[in-house]
């Protein structure tokens, strides 16, 4: 026992400016470390996985519940009406469907013949729920409720029903972060389906306000590409699987260098209302 009895209130404390210096150095070191190397704070990922993520799951479940209820009331009236119309349509469509199924069968056999059975619908996928969106208004990322425990790794492609959403950039045990293609930091190599010209699709936080993403570096000497053409991910992309729909060209102009073209694409996914996503359980291995 030490002879000096301290009062409990007299604790050891540093002046706050020392804390500022110490923590600034820590921050700068972390920044340098994460910027120049592949270092990941995996410990922190696990910690937030068991503290913050469950709360987000809970709140977003409650939030979605009320949001759904609100939307439900709105839609019930419209739906009953629509339902009757749709029932009539079903009859017509079942007939048509039978015809298409035959065509599909034929298509599958022809594809086998050409060794082209790599449509994106054939990848193994898993569904996930979006539990939180990005915390600042400058970037477009979101958190989903599946992580390394479910077999998710970084660079897996994320889809929504109608097209490409983005890719996984960080993984915790029960959560992972998705960088969307409309984010300012995202660049995707894509192809115009009709003319097979390659272009770069990059997100822009300002254009997103009007529902667009920008594209650039389109080399199209023959003026083949027109407004309305479908854009899919290209074969030469090193992160994205080929053939996933991205959107439609909605504006196109020639750059000042007269060699390349750029413009806007309307994405096929509604990025404001993503609740469920699909993740392709396979990363593109370019060494393959």
């Amino acid at each position: 026992m030490s002879p000096i009895v301290r009062k409990s209130k007299e604790k050891f404390s540093l002046p706050s400016r020392y804390y500022l210096v110490i923590f600034s150095i820590i921050c700068i070191l972390l920044m340098l470390l994460t910027f120049f190397t592949d270092f990941h704070l995996s410990g922190a990922n696990v910690i937030v996985g068991y503290t913050i993520v469950p709360c987000q799951k809970g709140i977003s479940a409650v939030g979605t519940f009320f949001y759904d209820k609100k939307e439900l009331l709105k839609e019930i009236k419209a739906l009953t009406k629509e339902n009757e119309e749709l029932k009539k349509e079903i009859d017509a469509l079942t007939l048509e469907n039978a015809k298409y199924q035959q065509d599909m069968f034929e298509l599958a056999s022809l594809r086998d013949l050409y060794n082209m059975n790599q449509g994106y619908t054939e990848y193994e996928m898993t569904g996930a729920k979006v539990i939180s969106s990005s915390d600042s208004n400058w970037f477009n990322t979101f958190i989903i409720d599946k992580g390394s425990n479910d077999g998710i790794t970084t660079d897996m492609n994320v889809l929504s029903g109608s097209g490409l959403v983005g890719r996984v950039t960080d993984v915790g045990p029960n959560w992972s972060r998705v960088l969307t293609i409309v984010d300012d930091n995202s660049n995707v190599s894509c192809t115009v389906l009709s003319s097979s010209d390659n272009l770069i699709v990059s997100g822009d936080v300002l254009k997103l306000e009007n529902g667009y993403i920008t594209f650039s570096n389109l080399i199209d000497d023959d003026n083949d590409v027109a407004v309305g053409d479908k854009v899919v991910t290209s074969n030469i992309s090193d992160k994205f699987m080929p053939g996933i729909p991205v959107g439609y060209i909605s504006y196109i102009e020639t750059d000042s260098n007269n060699l390349t073209k750029s413009g806007y694409i309307t994405p096929s996914v509604d990025f404001r209302h993503i609740n469920d996503v699909l993740i392709i359980l396979k990363t593109k291995d370019i060494t393959e």
């Binding site: 913050i52 539990i131 939180s132 300002l206 306000e209």
Partner: protein, 172 residues
């Protein structure tokens, strides 16, 4: 110890609300920055050290959840918390003007530094556009929400001060 627990709970609440509830119900896609309200109020209510720590933790969460370079938000928000700590002696609980002014200045500073380092240096020069589509809406939304949240933080402060005074009297 008690302050640490209260701060941890407040950070948790603010961060979770900001990332889930408010982004889900925001019509324009703009989310209010609730964490900056917490950081600024902690700074000018409890002093530099506490503002610094709350800013650091919030920033670290921001970095982990939505950023590839860990440390940027932590450093920025930490400094904002620290700067707010300079006003700990000019702050009176009856006065609403100074807190609102500090919160709005903090938010503007945060947005501005964010723009300069991550967009301007990235050759995206249209400051006017960014200002009117992102910084201004976020600013007004944050002020609006801070009118709701600030009384809560003030209530916690007053409650704690009362308890401390009681223990001071009895604990001699």
């Amino acid at each position: 110890m008690k302050r640490i627990i209260i701060n941890a709970i407040l950070i948790l609440i603010c961060f979770v609300l900001q990332t889930t509830f408010f982004s889900m119900f925001s019509r324009t896609g703009i989310v209010p920055n609730i964490c900056i309200i917490l950081i600024a109020t902690t700074g000018f209510m409890y002093g530099k050290t506490e503002g610094l720590f709350v800013g650091f933790i919030c920033g670290l969460l921001f970095d982990i959840f939505s950023f590839n370079v860990i440390g940027f938000n932590a450093l920025l928000l930490m400094i904002i918390g620290y700067l707010n700590g300079y006003f700990v002696n000019t702050f009176y609980s009856e006065d609403v003007k100074l807190p609102l002014l500090l919160i709005s200045l903090s938010d503007l500073l945060y947005s501005f530094v964010y723009y300069v380092f991550l967009f301007l240096l990235n050759n995206k020069l249209e400051f006017g556009n960014y200002f009117f589509t992102i910084i201004m809406p976020e600013f007004f939304y944050t002020i609006l929400i801070s009118i709701l949240f600030y009384p809560l933080f003030l209530w916690i402060l007053i409650k704690q001060n009362k308890k401390e005074r009681q223990t001071d009297v009895t604990g001699i």
